[in-house]
């Protein structure tokens, strides 16, 4: 069977599975819809969180990103996993004890303020829409490359599937499909990685393999890669080019952002008890770590393979996949010196080859000549990653609208049935908007990802921590903190990414901190402003201290 047929079969089977699960787990109440009736086991929630978290970007782009960035790619590896330590210790158990349905709910109650709630709703909706449009785009790319259907058709099919289980099943449907999606995506990621590890290093464990040696020459892969990089004029693979301060700040912003992302936080509302929330974060990170420790290995294998196959070789001798990806415009070759050979170089003026980093994982099976079914599997995995994340984000948007705005602000005495209907309608609406964004992506999707993390780090993260770990921070402090954190972070990113992109270089950044890393400064600012303003404004009312005590002690988490 060829790649296309395999892809049809594997993607079709996985979709049938998701729909089957959705039909079995319909939501009967708002509690089912928002938090899956808080009856999810910690292990299942860990898997669902892993699928929720690992998006099209983690599955498709990350290994490619690392393979082009080398050591600098560590910011993603540490940033997107280290945040779970913060989540397990500083946020998840307390939020579970609080027992809300959404993140703005906590902010609104702890800071006894409708305004704080609305600020939080705005952040949650913005962050989630930013993210979800990227997922829908990922769905479109996989469909168009592997099934050779139009991107629009691909997005519509993806929307249909998500619509079915998110609107029908809410959090309950999403949770159990995410468990299935985790299994699909991790299997699809590991199979080619293990193939590559065996081929390039003679070990079946990718995590060990990329520290191993080439079975023929006995040279360590990482040394070989550093050597190739030097020859071609790139920075050493294990050295990187970013400054230490920038790596530090980006990593911190991604960690705090991860811990503050609403779609991740709400997953921990779905387990029965506080102790389940703690251990569930551990399971989640374990399942995530399987992929995240494999990605840098895949990056090294892919980079080595690519340089061996392509660099300095005659264009006419390129294998079939090269031409296929050239057709999609994701690989471009321009024979500037007319010698018919591909010159790949770190020196931009001599370089003749441009490779989109997104194709590394998708093209890997073909570059390495793996069996056809592996390529089909990778397509199904990429779709699982994109759909599971999209569904989690859509739920955040729908609950922000139906619960935080409609129920808490506009019509407090809406009936249970009415709210459930409103939740379904807003989920449907969110799916439609996300699909439109996926079909016509705003040109700046890539740039706004920095936004999502920076905003989460500089808004929710400090507000939730201060709300749990202090009694004295009050409404005025929290609102001033969130607003100053967001405004500062947004202004810095907008300045360098949209207003004056020409100045977006290390010489112009404050203290050498890039827009990706500025969320860390915004977060520090939020903490500082909240504490100072709280000192000079009236203390919180008496009930707050009791609320804080209640959050801090697990007993009676029902």
């Amino acid at each position: 069977m060829d790649v296309r047929l395999w892809t049809f079969v594997l993607v079709g089977l996985s979709f049938a599975l998701y729909i089957g699960i959705a039909v079995r787990s319909r939501a009967g109440s708002t509690k089912d819809f928002y938090v899956a009736g808080t009856g999810v086991s910690p292990l299942a929630n860990g898997m669902a969180t892993a699928a929720d978290w690992m998006s099209a970007a983690s599955f498709i782009s990350m290994a490619g990103l690392i393979s082009f960035m080398g050591y600098d790619g560590s910011v993603y590896l540490m940033g997107w996993t280290g945040g779970y330590v913060l989540l397990a210790m500083l946020l998840a158990p307390y939020l579970r004890k609080f027992g809300a349905y959404t993140v703005p709910e906590f902010v609104g109650q702890r800071y006894y303020s409708q305004m704080a709630r609305v600020v939080a709703v705005a952040c949650a909706v913005f962050v989630s829409f930013t993210y979800v449009s990227g997922q829908m785009r990922g769905v479109g790319i996989v469909f168009s490359r592997f099934l050779e259907v139009d991107v629009t058709v691909g997005v519509v099919i993806g929307m249909g599937i998500v619509f079915f289980y998110a609107v029908l099943g809410g959090m309950k449907g999403i949770t159990y499909t995410q468990v299935a999606q985790y299994c699909v995506l991790i299997f699809a990621y590991m199979v080619p990685a293990i193939f590559l590890a065996v081929m390039l290093s003679g070990t079946a464990v990718p995590q060990l393999g990329f520290g191993g040696a080439d079975p023929e020459s006995g040279v360590f892969l990482l040394d070989k890669l550093d050597g190739l990089h030097r020859e071609l004029g790139f920075a050493a693979y294990t050295g990187g080019t970013k400054s230490t301060i920038d790596v530090f700040f980006i990593t911190a912003a991604l960690m705090a952002g991860t811990a503050g992302l609403p779609h991740v936080i709400i997953r921990f509302y779905t387990v029965p008890r506080v102790r389940d929330a703690r251990v569930s974060v551990g399971w989640a990170l374990l399942f995530i770590a399987i992929l995240y420790t494999t990605a840098p290995a895949v990056a090294v294998f892919a980079r080595t393979n690519l340089l061996d196959t392509v660099a300095g070789q005659p264009y006419d001798a390129m294998p079939e996949w090269f031409g296929k990806w050239e057709d999609t415009g994701l690989i471009t070759f321009e024979d500037r010196d007319g010698d018919g050979k591909i010159r790949y170089s770190g020196d931009a003026s001599a370089n003749e080859l441009a490779i989109d980093r997104d194709i590394m994982v998708l093209a890997n099976p073909e570059i390495s000549r793996l069996p056809n079914w592996v390529a089909g599997l990778v397509a199904a995995g990429g779709l699982a990653a994109a759909l599971s994340t999209a569904a989690g984000l859509l739920l955040v948007i729908s609950s922000a609208i139906s619960h935080d705005l409609l129920k808490r602000a506009v019509r407090p005495n809406i009936s249970e049935k009415g709210e459930l209907l409103a939740a379904r309608i807003s989920a449907a609406f969110a799916v439609a908007v996300a699909g439109l964004l996926g079909i016509n992506p705003p040109g700046f999707v890539a740039q706004v990802v920095a936004f999502a993390f920076g905003l989460a780090a500089s808004s929710f993260f400090p507000a939730i921590i201060l709300g749990t770990f202090t009694r004295t921070v009050n409404r005025e402090g929290a609102i001033a903190g969130m607003l100053s954190g967001i405004t500062f972070t947004a202004a810095y990113i907008i300045h360098f990414r949209f207003v004056n992109p020409a100045a977006d270089s290390p010489e112009n950044w404050w203290f050498g901190i890039s827009p990706e890393g500025i969320g860390t400064v915004g977060m520090a600012l939020n903490f500082a402003v909240a504490l100072v303003v709280s000192k000079f404004t009236p203390a919180p009312p008496a009930g707050v201290s009791e609320l804080v005590d209640r959050i801090r002690t697990p007993g009676g988490a029902a």
Binding site: T81, Y84, V85, L90, V279
Partner: protein, 95 residues
């Protein structure tokens, strides 16, 4: 002066210790001291130590830290009698 809430004080102490380790393996070994550690290699492999911490080691430690914290807190909950009874908040199984 004894802390008014010894349960919370112990929790804060656990947090201080575990988060110091969290900081040390990632921001310390993986970033600030990465260049210095890169002079050392893990014997028998091609891994330079700083690079390994940044792309592998820190992640393994993160996973362990969370499970250790969950265990410590379960013990602490029992010690102070604030543990949730079995099946604490679980929904009664009514069909």
């Amino acid at each position: 002066m004894p802390h008014p809430n010894p349960y919370w004080a112990r929790n804060l102490r656990y947090l201080a210790i575990l988060l110091s380790i969290w900081f040390l393996v990632s921001f310390g070994c993986g970033i600030l001291f990465a260049d210095a550690l890169n002079a050392i290699r893990i014997p028998g492999t091609g891994f330079k130590l700083g690079f390994w911490f940044a792309q592998q080691g820190s992640i393994y430690v993160f996973v362990v830290l969370i499970f250790v914290y969950a265990r410590l807190m379960n013990r602490l909950d029992r010690e102070y009698g604030v543990a949730e009874e079995r099946g604490g908040g679980r929904r009664p199984r009514v069909r």
